[in-house]
Every structure is written in structure tokens, then in C-alpha cells.
Amino acid sequence: MVRPRAAVTSAIIVGDPGDGHVLAVVQAVADLGGPSPFIVDAAALSRKPFCVLDDHLTLDGSSIELNGCTNGWLRRHAPSAWGAGTVSGSLDAARLRAFMSVIGSIARASGPVWLTPLDKMLRAEDRLEQLAVARAMGFRVPKTIVTSSGSQAADHLGLPFVVKPMVNGYYRTDDGPRAVFTTALTATDLDEVDFAAAPFVAQEQITPIEHLRVVTVGDRAWTASLSAADRPLDWRRQPEAHFEWREAADDQVIRCALRLSGALGIGFSSQDWLRDDDGLIFIDLNPGGQWLFLPPEVSDPATRSIAKYLVEGDPDG
């Protein structure tokens, strides 16, 4: 068997080259004078010729020696909607899973030092685990229950209470795709739904003063805030809310967010906190979340820190 041609040594990004966040980091790497990172995800493997041979990865004619990689950033295995609509257990599902498995192996390669290692990322994606860790650290978290009984949730949380998907609220129907946002349920809603058919995270409803989005990279963090006045429960449902985040110099939430990301062992996180009349409360975090919609005072340094990690191995340098 012919070994792949001489590999380049550079950083590696597991992510979609069309993802704006990947693009921004790649540009920042170039600005720092670093070599172009090798970019791969499951979708790329599915549409381009590739080969994994020992510690060599070749994709569409480009090659990289994984053990020779310096640093790695695991952004996402695949685009968010990749494989959406695939029927579980189908031939297509088997194919997708095979590509995902290859990406998983690449993301576990021991050569690169990953900003967030794969297994740490998977743990950190677990909503209940996040809450458990935050609670154990003494942070306020919403009262939370996962149950097949809506009345049990109401008894525990009071009415109305909030529900959000365990993992992903995106699905396809014959009439097109749909998304589930964080929503408050009333007694009337409980009469209408089958609570047992799919588990959701149910939480007490908080009345926030402001939303806080904290982006952490290594030991650094930046915060943006959004006034909760006149917002829906899930701010993403309000178009103007996407443009009204402002930089916030909030040392308290930054300290809390860094402690939490440190406890979870993740080099990057996008965290959601609320402030109400009683202070800070942790809502959830995403170890592969978005940050470019935030003001440039927040998003730009976060982008540069990831790039510095890829080039220099130190996001704080």
C-alpha cells in the first residue's frame, strides 16, 4: 500500500469549513502568521476522497500527520443539520454513523493537544451533568426535573414551568423542519400534551433582569449582556434581540464561568447565565456554542484566543 505523500504539520480543526466561526478562526490564524489549519468534519469525509492510514489523514489530496499536529480545536463533528431527517436504523443512518465514527477517531488522536478533548466535550454537552457540576460548586441553578409526568413536574416546580429539549430541539416533518425553543408550560398545556412520550428538561421559571452570555477560552473570558425587559422567555425568538447584546464588564460572572469551564475540563465554552433579583444563576453551557453574534469587543478576542491556541498552544499568551 502506498503511504500518503508527505504531510504538512499544522494545527487541526474538526469542523465545517463553511461555518462562520471556523472561518473567523482560520483568518485569525493567518493574521498571526500561522500555517493554515487542516480542517475536516464528517460532512467533508462524506463528499471528498479521504484515507486514514496509521496516523496519516488524507483528505481531498491534502495530508496531515496526526501525531505531528501541534494543537487541535474540536468545533463540531458535522454541521448542525447534517443528516437531519435520516431515519434511525436505516441504511443512510448506518452510513452517517460510519463517517461520524471516523471523525470520532480523528478527534481522539493523541498527537494534537485539543483545546477541548472529545470526551470532555461530550460530557460537557450533557445538560443535567452541567447542572450537577454547577450545583456541586455552589452556583445557583434552576430547580430541575426530568420526568414522564407533567403533574409531577408541576408539583415540584410550580406552574408555569419551563421546558427545553434534552439535547436538540430540531426535527423534520412532512411540512418542513421545526425547532423547539425554551417555553413555559401552563396547566392548560399539560392537559394538551403527552409528557411521557419524550423526556424534556423541566425547570422553574426564572424572572431575569438580564441575560448573560459568557465566552471562555482557556483561562480568559468575555461577557455580553442583554436586558431581559420586554423579551420573550427564549430571547432567540425576538429578532431584534440578536443585535442588542452589549459588552459587559462583569467580573463576577466571568469568575464563575471560568471556574465551571475549569471543572468540566473544557478549553472553550459558551455559557448562559441569568441575573435576577437574587443574583447570578447558571442556565446552561455549550462546549461548541456560538459567539460571533456577540459584540466585537467580546467576539474578536475570543476568536483571536482560539487562533493563538492553534498557533502557539496558549490561548492566553
Binding site: D16, P17, G18, D19, G20, L23, A24, Q27, A43, P79, S80, A81, W82, A84, V163, P165, N168, G169, Y170, Y171, R172, T173, D175, G176, P177, R178, A179, V180, F181, T183, D189, E192, V193, D194, F195, A196, A197, A198, F200, R236, P239, E240, H242, F243, S270, D272, D284, L285, N286, G289, Q290, L292, F293, L294, P295, P296, S299
Partner: protein, 120 residues
């Protein structure tokens, strides 16, 4: 209603009733799910709420590669390539649209919105 005999039969009756309840009412996904733009396998985006016309089919054609990523600005009607500002998302404001293949985020000037599929 006549009671079925024996513990096992009672248990089965309970389970049957439980399953009937599950099938008669929508679950939370069905009950709460809202239409969002669809990204199809052929690389087109179909939005159920967006009335903006990107092309004559009312469908936004997505670029086939990063280099073909396109920003469409409603304000000046020019089409830029990625060199012109993919890295400047914050500068797009509410009057522009960024479309990239396989990117589930749509920056949509009608909605002013970003349909954060997977966004947390």
C-alpha cells in the same frame, strides 16, 4: 369495566393504557415545534416565513465551497465574495444576509434573526 385477573394482567392493562395516552396527545416536540428554514440536501434554503427573494425561485442557492460563500446586502444590492467580509459578521447589521453551505445559521434581514438550529 371488568378487571383482568392476576398481577401480570393488571400490569399489562396499565401499560396498554399508558401507551394509548402516549398516542392520543402530541408530545412536547410536536406541541412546541415551530417551522424554521429548511436546508435541503441540494444546498438550498427554504424558509417558511422569509418572503425575501434571493433568486427567482425564492430560494437561496448556497455556495458550493467556502470561497463561493456569499453575502447579500439588501442595502446596496451588491454581492460580495468571502474576501469582502465573511469575517465581519458583526458589521452586517440587520440589512444583510449571509449564506454558507452547510451552515445552519441563517442571518436573515427580514427576521433580523438567526435561526440558531443547535444554538444555545
Amino acid at each position: 369495566m371488568e378487571r383482568p385477573a392476576g398481577h401480570g394482567a393488571w400490569l399489562q392493562a396499565d401499560l396498554d393504557g399508558y401507551r394509548r395516552r402516549m398516542t392520543q396527545r402530541p408530545d412536547l416536540f410536536e406541541y412546541l415545534g415551530e417551522p424554521v428554514p429548511e436546508i435541503r440536501a441540494d444546498g438550498t434554503v427554504h424558509s417558511p416565513t422569509d418572503t425575501e427573494t434571493y433568486d427567482d425561485d425564492d430560494i437561496a442557492m448556497l455556495p458550493t465551497s467556502l470561497d463561493e460563500a456569499t453575502i447579500i446586502s439588501k442595502a446596496d444590492t451588491e454581492t460580495y465574495d468571502d474576501d469582502a467580509g465573511l469575517g465581519n459578521l458583526a458589521d452586517l447589521g440587520s440589512s444583510s444576509t449571509l449564506i454558507t453551505r452547510n451552515d445552519s445559521e441563517t442571518y436573515d434581514d427580514d427576521q433580523g434573526a438567526w435561526f440558531g438550529l443547535g444554538l444555545q
